[in-house]
Structures are given as C-alpha cells and as structure tokens.
C-alpha cells in the first residue's frame, strides 16, 4: 500500500476543526460565568508546552505514528497494552462526540427521530471517508474549514446588533477558583484532545511540520472558540448561558435583522455537523490504525466498518440522558483524559529523549 501524505494546509485544517469540534456547540459553560474567556486564555497557555512535547515526538520519531512510537519505546507487550488504551480513547472520544450530536438532534432538531438514526448517518459517512483514506479527510477538512470560517464570520456580523456589552462586567466576578477549574476543563476538552493527532503523524511530510500543525491548530482553534464564547456571552449573558445545553444554537436563534433575516440557527447547526464529522472521522481513523498496528494487519481498512459501527452503538448506550452527558463532559472528563493527553505522552517523550541521547553518546564514542 502506498504511503499516505497529508500536506500541511490540510493537516492544519483537520487540527482546527478537530479542536473546535464539539466546543462550537457544547460551549464552554462552567462556573467562570462572564470570565470564561480568561479560562480559555489560561487553557491555551497551558496547552503550549504540551504541543511542544507532541511536536518533539514527531522530530524524535520521523515517519512514525503514536502506535509505532509506543511499541518502539516500551516493547511489544507494554507498547501494545498502552496502544490498546489509546484505541479505546479514540473510540470513546468519537462516541462522545457522536452522542453530543445525537443529543442535539433529539433535543433541538429531530425530536421525534430515534437518536441512533442521525448518529448512524454521520457514523457511516465517517466510515466511508476513513475507508477512502486520510487524504480524502484532509481535502474535506480544507474545504469545510473555509466554509466554517465564512459562516462564523457572517453570523458574527449579523449578531452584532444583539450584543449587550454590560454582560462582560464585572470581570472576575466569581474569583480565580472557578476560572482555574474551567481552564483545567478547557485544557483537556478540547485542546488536549489533539493527542489523537499523534496517530496521523506518519502522514505528515517534513520532519518539523508537526510543530506548525499543532500550534496553528491551537491558535486558530482557540481563536474560533474565543469568538464563539464572546458571541454567546454578549447575546445571552452569563446566567442564561450556564443554564443551556447548546448555547451557540440559542444565541444564533436570537439574530433578527429587520424582521426579515430570522431563525438562521440552522446555519450554526451545519457548522456543528461539519466540525464533528472531521473529529469523528479522525478518531475512527486513529482507532483503525491502532488496531491494525496492534494485531499486525495488512491494512487498517479491514476494521474501519466494524469500528465505526461499534462507535455508533457505544454512542447510543454510553449515557442515559443529556444530564449525564453534561456531567461527564464537564466534570469527569478532565480527570479521565489526563493520562492519555499528558502522562503517557510525557513518559514517551522522556524515554525517547533518554534513548536518543544514549544513541548519540554511542555514536560519538571512539
């Protein structure tokens, strides 16, 4: 099989859409109220060292993905066990994002339709994309990112008359405690989730291109989330914002231009679907690559359909209701995701640096 190559522009588009994925819709509501933007800035700053670690892994292991790195550094058995945890994380994350979409459909858009129907449609679309290869995903992401930014910009302009700037004050009303707690949540969801991208590092062209991808993803994704946070906050205010499951949808539904341009929240739903399509596809791709690596398969395509179906089923029975979903996303997830996003990559990086320095010492020895 030919090696798949993902140009920088396409990989940056995937990274940006991956980061903004569910945050675009779920919002970042927490306890920080009108200071959520400060939490976002702190979370972005906290993510910078993590991005350096991820980018450094690409330099230390050129042409390898996360699973190759784990097996190379920790050996066949331990490497495969840790790989299995990452396969689970990718599958679980994909299922969580699909479930967000399912809950959105059942709560807001398609209230009479069983939740599994829209999730299965998106899931099968992702299976098709992943089966076609990462290059197809890259090209789709490049187009969809332009589309997303255009719609976001348009919605932002149309929303300006509805902005009530007093919602921003008083800054730091709730103190630093809730802001730091929310920053921790934002660090793991969505910025830390980019760890999944380590599974496609093999497809990146140059040795140092990962740094560009991770930092562009962080800055652009963070910028988009910041714009959405401000829009939601200025339209709805902190009290209403914290009581909604899908604040972006409600905020956009308030847009009314001369009683003519109204009810345009459907356009924001399209943005949600495009971003989650990229996010779920990447999770499915990485899970398939992982299974293929762990079981030494000839092609990852052999397991794409089954893993995609499992992801959709998992999304169906993972939560009992939307409150459980909200509770998991905002309270449990920030602890649950830490080993995958921070501990294992840090351990891998430290071991890889030690091995690399030992290798250099041996080379320089007479």
């Amino acid at each position: 099989m030919n090696k798949e190559i993902l140009p920088s522009g396409q990989s940056i588009s995937i990274a940006v859409l991956f980061i903004i994925g569910s945050s675009l819709f779920m919002g970042v509501t927490g306890r920080s109220g009108n200071s959520a933007w400060i939490s976002l800035l702190i979370a972005m700053s906290l993510s910078v060292p993590l991005m350096f670690v991820y980018a450094r892994l690409h330099v230390l292991f050129p042409g390898k993905n996360l699973f190759d790195m784990l097996i190379a550094m920790f050996g066949g058995i331990a490497g495969r066990i840790i790989s299995c945890t990452y396969i689970w994380y990718a599958l679980h994350l994909g299922a969580l994002v699909l479930r967000n979409f399912g809950e959105f459909s059942e709560t807001v858009a398609l209230t009479e339709t069983p939740m599994i129907a829209p999730m299965l449609c998106i899931g099968l679309l992702c299976v098709w994309t992943v089966y076609s290869g990462i290059e197809v995903l890259g090209r789709s992401a490049k187009f969809l990112l332009l589309f997303t930014i255009m719609i976001l910009f348009l919605l932002q302009i149309l929303a300006i008359p509805k902005f009530e700037y007093h919602h921003l004050k008083p800054v730091l009303d709730s103190g630093w405690g809730p802001i730091l707690a929310d920053a921790m949540g934002l660090f793991t969801f969505p910025f830390g989730e980019i760890v999944i991208f380590l599974g496609v590092l093999r497809a990146l062209p140059g040795k140092g291109s990962a740094k560009k991808v991770f930092f562009s993803g962080l800055l652009m994704g963070g910028g988009v989330i910041m714009v959405v946070i401000f829009r939601n906050l200025l339209i709805l205010g902190p009290d209403i914002l914290s009581s909604l499951y899908f604040p972006a949808y409600v905020a956009v539904s308030r847009i009314n231009v001369g009683d003519f341009l109204t009810r345009i929240e459907g356009s924001s739903a399209i943005l949600f679907v495009t971003a989650l399509y990229i996010k779920v596809s990447l999770c499915l791709y990485v899970a398939s690559i992982g299974v293929a690596k762990v079981f030494k398969l000839k092609s990852y395509r052999s397991v794409v359909l089954q893993l995609g179906l499992l992801m959709v089923y998992l999304a169906d029975f993972i939560y009992q209701d939307i409150m459980q979903m909200q509770n998991f996303a905002y309270h449990t997830y920030k602890i649950y995701a830490l080993p995958f996003q921070v501990f294992f990559p840090l351990l891998l990086w430290i071991v890889a640096e030690i091995v690399a320095s030992k290798g250099k010492q041996k080379e320089s020895a007479p």
Binding site: K296, S302, Q306, I318, Q324, T332
Partner: protein, 67 residues
Amino acid sequence: MGAFVVLAYAVIVLLDPYGLLKRGMKRDFYVCSALCLVSFCIAFALSMHWKVPSPSPVIVNLVSHFY
C-alpha cells in the same frame, strides 16, 4: 427490528469479513470477524431494547476514586 439487524449483518458479513477472506488476508479476516461478532451482539441487543451496560459509571467511579 431484530430480524432487520440480522439481515443487515448478513450483508455486512458478505461484504466485509468474507471479502477479506477471499482476498487471502487471513489475519485481517480473523480480527474483522471478532469485531463483527461484537458489533452484531450489541446491535441485536439494542434492537431488542435489552440493556447494554455502559462504561461511563465505571469511569466515573474510577475517577472519583482517584480524585
């Protein structure tokens, strides 16, 4: 609904695992068949409205145990 799932999976088995076997990819066939069996069991259970245990409570318990 259960019958529909069985029919759908008959088509999936013909297309996916059996296709791999015909192409001589034996290892891929075994892994795909195992995954297919698991996904069929879950799909059938969901179609019959049986309760499938969710991993979320386990994760929540685990997290609350450590934090």
